[in-house]
Symmetry: C2
Subunit: 340 residues, 2 copies
């Protein structure tokens, strides 16, 4: 992944200083506009007009160890909900005219037969094995899932999408996410593990113990593929590939909550520097999310107490990203407005 | 102002619990959707489709006491910028399809002659007197300005706008805003006073001293009109009326930064309970903004380090407000989606 374009970023920062407002008065919108210029290599950066949300779905063998109260079948049922357009991510995407696609990269149970152009059937395997007792999958599985994400990003860019948004669905997937974050940051599982979509104290203690044991089993903590295979998930691997694919294509990628942030940490191992090309959509309430944001120096755009996943927080941030680009394109300069 | 509709809010909260997501997973979006139902008296609340931003402009005699480095003429020049569509608020409003109107309620210097349907010429007087040395204006002036805001809100609602957004422009207007906040909260000026659009240490000390002296002069701190006349501003008075007008019409009002929050504090004195009908668009970096948000128990939607005014932060929040309403309207329930 190439570094951000420093010359274009300088030009963008200079232009910000000429617009009809006190210097710095638009805060994070200004720094975001400069990063967008650097990511896309153009100043002013064009206003993203065709955002696409890719929701990667996969299942997790670790649900058999009791880390979540939700049955595994809900993953496939929610995929159906995405396909028929009734989920939160669909509603939020419609509000901003973003396309939603759903990528089955590892759903374990049958997806209800719904004819939908949104579905991409790229199932690598029917869910992972239980990471509490052994590797979640093989290295070959992890590599295949990463490549699914890469190719989906490339397909969307080829189709003209100019802003990529990460989403996911997978019952139990806060467990591999917290495990990856613990493994890569070196923090204990207790710091990285949250309640996901509503676990009680007992389940939280079990989930934390499962994660600590699984991380202790990992041999090479600097090998992203190895980590994905040992303690990761199929949709997480695909998300890592998707993020790298967007960054490599010069298209900004908005990341969502703790699952996509875990994928981003892995992506940073596979392609150092990739996180510079990424925009943090929001700060999820899951503790692992803030750990990754801090580690990578990413300042999220929203902090609305969300913990849903699906890409919901990232989609909500699309309007802010468009606004930042529009400011740099469309505001009058002091000269143009005749203001001294 | 009527209290929020408790029955409709209960229905909205119940509906949130039936949607295909873990309870509470959409955080502030959920509580906002419930408030929108209460404000509009409808469940689910309709998604606001015709937002309007009213930018109230006025000048301030206190600039003669040296509280800002910007010349007073910039108010009129920025009004011209709003009319031609080159200011930040115009750019941000266009992104979300919001109409912008500009209300001259007290600009002191001539507004460049620009033919624009956006302009509402409702000048009460050519700026205030210097509040550092005496009352900013008469009670009659303050009342007239409040009534301008009320009638503008009513006009916009009559024209079919279903979401009102507050904006303002007035060189020097962080000084009367901080003064009103200090007077109503009882806090010292040093706590309420910020650097506005870029004052240095010396000017900040002078500004703080001016505010403390002016507040000490006020007789009845519970009389909103008296406070506006003694230490307020024409656009601030109009904003107070505008907020009350929107609330009385059952239309949600998004407030912006420290100037509109000062107006909201006054509005709360004139019409107790009005702040329940208000949505805080963002947390400005001005210290007075957080003081008012905390005092009124308002949780802002955005925190992007903005300190521009014009309504910029409130306009950025329009998409979040629409999203909250859309969630309650359009998401599938567990029943509808066939999820156990």
């Amino acid at each position: 992944v190439l570094p951000l374009d420093a010359a274009v970023m300088s030009a963008a920062a200079e232009r910000q200083g000429e617009l009809t407002k006190p210097a710095g008065a638009l805060g994070q919108l200004e720094s975001l506009s400069v990063r967008l210029a650097g990511i896309t290599g153009v100043c002013p950066p064009s206003v993203p007009a065709r955002p696409a949300v890719a929701v990667f779905a996969g299942d997790h063998g670790v649900v058999r160890s009791g880390v979540t109260p939700w049955p595994q079948e809900v993953t496939a049922q929610m995929v159906a909900n995405f396909l028929t357009g009734g989920a939160a991510v669909n509603v939020l995407a419609r509000q901003v005219g973003a396309e939603v696609i759903v990528v089955d990269v590892g759903v374990a149970t049958p997806i209800p037969p719904i004819a939908s152009e949104r579905l991409r059937s790229r199932n690598v395997r029917l869910g992972t094995d239980d990471l509490a007792v052994g590797p979640a999958m093989s290295r070959a599985n992890a590599e295949a899932a990463v490549l699914v994400g890469l190719s989906i990003a490339q397909d969307l860019v080829d189709a003209g999408h100019d802003l990529l948004v990460t989403g996911e669905m997978g019952i139990g997937n806060t467990t591999p996410s917290a495990a990856l974050i613990a493994a890569i940051t070196g923090l204990p599982a207790a710091d990285c593990t949250g309640r996901g979509t509503g676990v009680n104290d007992e389940t939280l203690a079990l989930k934390t113990a499962v994660i600590d044991r699984a991380v202790a089993r990992c041999r090479d903590l600097s090998d992203g593929i190895d980590l994905l295979a040992e303690i990761g998930g199929l949709e997480i691997a695909a998300l890592a590939g998707f993020i790298i694919g967007g960054a490599a294509a010069g298209v900004p990628v908005i990341v969502d909550g703790v699952i996509t942030l875990a994928a981003l940490l892995v992506a940073e191992q596979l392609a150092p520097g990739v996180s510079e090309h990424v925009i943090a959509g929001h700060r999820s309430t899951e503790p692992g999310a803030s750990i990754v944001l801090d580690k990578l120096g990413l300042e999220p755009l929203l902090d609305l107490g969300l913990r849903l996943g699906e890409g919901s927080g990232a989609v909500l941030a699309i309007g802010i990203v468009q606004a930042a680009a529009a400011i740099l394109n469309d505001m009058a300069t002091f000269n143009e407005a005749g203001i001294a």
